[in-house]
Symmetry: C2
Subunit: 694 residues, 2 copies
């Protein structure tokens, strides 16, 4: 990970005076400064002091940035003006230029032609910009990115917005698709007297994203167990019941690394006490027993602190002036509040062996019935509620991460809100929404903005839906079934009521067999995923990303938001329930079917007949590909006995762990007849066999 | 209607200076003034100049206001403070007090516990406050209303929002439903240095709504033809095809008053020219022919003016600085722009015989792909785009209304955006959304905010869905089928593609028979609806309204948003496709089944088995009820030969037209054996027969 800033800094909201009349907007002089290789900062007027950059807790990964392609000149220029409403920024758009990003956008992929208000919202139901993780950063197919350093709900008009006069001058028939003409991106930030923006050179769109991620501190590196399979048990589980779940997984030979507990573990959950409920009489022994069975433990919580919590009084003077669920809202913009909160978590939970948390409800759930603090809230740090919403998810992550750092332990956790400069955070986003198609689009889009996303599985409309969702989630940052509202695993019964009455489906063992196999795929993927995350850390390449990021000039791929790339050589095309066939669009080059090794010529599209027991996956022709061994969890040494698959001519070697001898693995293949060469790491990796795919 | 202000006034946006530091919010002194009977104005700080009240075009209906219950003291007090973000207002809420209103809210009925941002949005998909017609006016079950006089997207926290300290003081277990405790409504208006609010006394919730509607100018009075049946023809229709539709309606004996034309009538529609397309070679003769067949003509349009329109140059200097669809956006906040726009419409369209318009796309459709102007727009009147969005629908209606006023003709029109103080406007809202359940909730909620709503019918999932939707729409302000995307009436074929290929359903004549009967119900309702609108005009009672408005203290009715009241004696409970049974909750008192006369004791709930050919409708026991005669349109004198139904003991006389001798009708019944007494108006109404329901 990047460097964590050791001291908190004072943040205070400060807004200089705006034009307060009927005057026209006045232009603002811009100051441009090269701050890092290929990164320029532009400053206009008097920017606010509380911004994502001013509050950052990770420093840029300078050494890694220095290794990217050298770009001498800023690839784009920004203009600004000040109106009575706030600051307006303009960035020119060329004819045909395409725009991506703006955070976890659930309802659209390409952003050109859209208006987006980057408002944090737990229940985003339309393509208006509302999301769990808005990020004022975009990249374009011209190979650059721009980050607006603001904690306000900025409005992006990613569009032409021609004046009528310009339009009248143009041809008689104005285009309805404005992307056909040169225009501009216009960004309005209300209630500020200036702004700072960062320009990220490419020269490719992917390198612009890499630069943004490295500027953020570089991508996170999850521990191995984070890449195994996760299962969240029913919310009303007792300590005894949790152990039964654990035994069941081992007895049924279903791999599982992480058991997650839902609200019932706490003595009071809305708001939270962060104290164990009486139905968990000996949590320490439970966590130890789980560890003995090779399980890690993850705990649900949110930050709103109940009056009966030991933290309540400690947060006096370090909280907002509005309650949520009757609980205090910690002022996580303050180092003091983060430390109080983090220290409590270390002492009472992390030191007990808890490996991670699920940070719920931190995403402005106020449209779900006042489930959050108002934008007009005030915090001792000087932030108002709007700014706090934009940074709350990340600063909450900082508090939790502080607990693990002090304990000297890694974590890989879940969070329902994130935002700007998030790449170094080992936290994966999730949502209470549950549309499989939307979940996949979120996964595709997450890579543009330094975010990780889990298309979690709960149950399914039917068995097919369950299988399709599970096949997707094992090709994502966290392979998780979140069965918080059902008593039994969904493969025993997808119907919620029947599941809770222990009425299992007639053929549940068959469904379990299918699911066991799919979860097994995840275990096989772990070494490959580790390498993908290693790149995320080292050069900022998102481990999960859109096709257009690697192939920005292939128009056919410009709006493919139901396929994605994993690591440096894999393409996944999830199938949705009900699809008897599925159209797949392949990038240029030669590819191989991951399952059969069959060669697929790229550059075209084809309709494939789906199979319930397979998700379409392709790897680059020539790939040498590690397949992890089977075992009950990644802590099982058997999982490190790998098979090596050789696709095509095996000319693409595989490399893991050049910087981490603990997990090193170097695989190359030197000819169709030979068995290839393998350098195994010190971590216990060993080669079980080589398999040359046809 | 109320008085139309004769002169436009200068409106300019002016924002005085806000606190610009980290200071706490400072309290604002409030000034309270009684402005009309039972209406108080409270002023805080320096309010903006461009507000709904400052821009109003109708004066309050003072004489009608003087007739309401006398209330000496303001029923509630408001406090305000100024922060660096803007102005915050607080209104106390009592334990158990319930809140309704805030405009055309589609996703919730009772507002307590909700956060709502009153943003104009053409595609409201969640319960966040976005709507076609936001209105910063609410009423509560304590019998008062508050109107915040702002054109900003105000945020309403209709909720407790206890501070943590208050919560800690309260009992250990804070309530998750905050409505159980006393709290307050908190309203934030950003970017303003003060605000004005109006308090409307009841003493009942209904009277508070009446007072608001009379303050707005009193309810509109539609012409008779507006209350008949409307049909919008396929968007690509030619003049010849329009006449074929008209003939078909008469041949198939389906009553129809209004034929509506969609975008294809114009030479260019996105943006608009307001000039007839060449496929309408002689619109004047078409409109005259339609009139001869007793049809009125309604034209689709929006306000964004294409460069080839004769209006384009005239609007030079009277338009915003951003184009929409490449067209000029008229500055309708200016009297000059309204006059230019209205005069053109009078001369070229109204004088031709056009009876009304459908004003589309005026509702901030920018989340639908930049289909509107940005909030950062500027207008010559001084308004910015946010303010303009809040008033655009109404000021557009003013421009169109001006055309009809000058021509001395009434109109009844459609609009996709409305807002504050809209009661006098003879315009009915509609939406491109199409969920029947949501459409009924909109109808229920519209009555709280001086709005009229049409749950328009297009086609249906299946015949049942079509029938259910049609049964609902005939009990609404406009009984309309909007068949703009299908070539034939939906009763011939609900499937869009088959309909457009002229492949009719096998049993379409049977479906047509059912629909003819339902449309006939509408014709029968016209006299009753006229009386309901007369009350809307005279005392402000909404013709369509929620049950809770008349029965605010009946907890059982507090969240009934799928039943509604029409006029002074009718209750409608729409059925949704797929409902084999339907739960109905009756207010106290005795009621009669509208169709059978059967007595239904109120005060309870019951599950009824539905019938495809009936929508559950009830009238108050004792009602004397006029049933209009059948005819091809309301212009057919046969429709004025009415039957009088007597329910129960006939002790509730019916009165229409006490103020309008043209349409007068007074019906009372003096005993089970007699035929009752009728005073018929000068309008041609005559009594055909009396029918005593069992």
């Amino acid at each position: 990970m990047g460097t964590v800033l050791s001291v908190g800094h004072n943040v205070s909201a400060e807004v200089a005076s705006l034009p307060r009349s009927n005057d026209a907007a006045r232009p603002l002089d811009g100051h441009r400064e090269r701050v890092l290789p290929g990164i320029w900062k532009m400053s206009f007027g008097t920017a606010e002091r509380a911004t994502p950059v001013s509050m950052r807790q990770f420093l840029p990964a300078k050494e890694s940035l220095a290794k990217l392609t050298v770009v001498e000149d800023a690839p784009v220029s920004i203009k600004a003006e000040l109106s009575h409403r706030g600051c307006v920024l303009r960035i020119p758009l060329a004819e045909g230029e395409r725009v991506y990003g703006l955070g976890l956008q659930l309802y659209s992929h390409e952003q050109r032609g859209k208006k987006k208000v980057l408002r944090v919202n737990a229940d985003p139901h339309s393509d208006s910009g509302d999301t769990h993780a808005p990020v004022p950063f975009f990249v374009t197919t011209r190979g650059y990115g721009v980050f607006i350093d603001t904690a306000r709900y900025a409005t992006f008009y990613v569009d032409a917005l021609h004046t009528p006069e310009e339009m009248a001058e143009a041809a008689a028939e104005p285009p309805r698709k404005p992307s056909a003409a040169a225009s501009s991106i216009v960004i309005e930030i209300e209630n500020v007297a200036g702004a700072e923006a960062y320009i990220f050179a490419g020269p490719s769109m992917k390198e612009a994203v890499q630069r943004y991620n490295l500027f953020s501190g570089g991508g996170c590196l999850p521990p191995d167990w984070g890449l195994g399979f996760w299962y969240r048990v029913a919310g009303d589980s007792t300590q005894e019941r949790v152990m039964e779940y654990a035994k069941q997984f081992r007895e049924r030979r279903i791999p599982c690394d992480v058991i997650g507990l839902e609200p019932g573990w706490q003595s009071h959950a809305y708001s939270c006490t962060f104290v164990w409920s009486s139905v968990f009489p000996d949590p320490k022994s439970m966590i130890q027993s789980l560890q003995t069975m090779l399980f890690k433990t993850n705990l649900w919580e949110h930050a709103f602190t109940h009056p009966t919590s030991p933290l309540f009084d400690k947060l006096n003077g370090h909280a907002g002036n509005y309650a949520v669920f009757g609980g205090r809202v910690p002022d996580f913009a303050e180092a003091a509040a983060r430390q109080i909160f983090g220290d409590y978590h270390k002492e009472h939970l992390v030191d007990l062996g808890v490996s991670g948390f699920k940070l719920d409800e931190c995403d402005n759930s106020d449209f779900t019935g006042s489930w959050s603090f108002p934008e007009l809230s005030r915090y001792p740090s000087g932030l108002d509620g709007e700014q706090m919403h934009s940074v709350f998810g990340l600063r909450y992550q900082d508090a939790i991460l502080g607990a693990f750092s002090k304990a000297g332990k890694p974590t890989y956790s879940l969070v329902r809100c994130s935002g700007s400069l998030a790449a170094p955070y080992p936290f994966v986003l999730y949502s209470d929404l549950y549309d499989h198609r939307v979940f996949i689009r979120a996964l595709v889009n997450s890579g543009f903005s330094g975010l990780l996303w889990c298309p979690e599985v709960r149950n399914g409309e039917n068995t097919e839906d369950l299988i399709r969702r599970l096949q997707s989630v094992v090709f994502s940052p966290v392979a998780m079934v979140n069965a918080w509202y059902i008593a039994n695993p969904p493969w025993k019964q997808v119907d919620t009521d029947k599941n809770n009455r222990n009425e299992f489906a007639e053929n549940w063992q068959h469904t379990e067999d299918l699911c066991r196999e799919i979860i097994g795929w995840r275990m096989q993927l772990v070494p490959y995923l580790k390498a993908a995350f290693e790149r995320y850390h080292d050069d900022g390449t998102p481990p999960f990303r859109a096709l257009v990021m690697d192939y920005p000039h292939d128009e056919r791929l410009s709006n493919i938001d139901d396929q994605f790339l994993v690591g440096d050589r894999m393409l996944v095309a999830p199938v949705f329930a009900g699809q008897a066939t599925r159209r797949i669009t392949m990038p240029v080059g030669r590819w191989c079917d991951f399952w059969t090794g069959e060669t697929v010529e790229g550059g075209g599209s084809f309709e494939m007949t789906t199979r319930l027991d397979r998700i379409p996956v392709y790897v680059k022709w020539g790939s040498v590909f590690p397949i992890g061994g089977s075992g009950s969890s990644t802590q099982d040494p058997a999982t490190r006995q790998i098979s090596v698959r050789v696709y095509g001519d095996g000319s693409l070697p595989f490399l893991l762990g050049k910087r981490d001898a603990e997990s090193g693995l170097q695989l190359s293949y030197d000819g169709a007849k030979s068995k290839g060469n393998a350098v195994e790491g010190a971590s216990g990796y060993s080669i079980k066999n080589w398999e040359v795919m046809r």
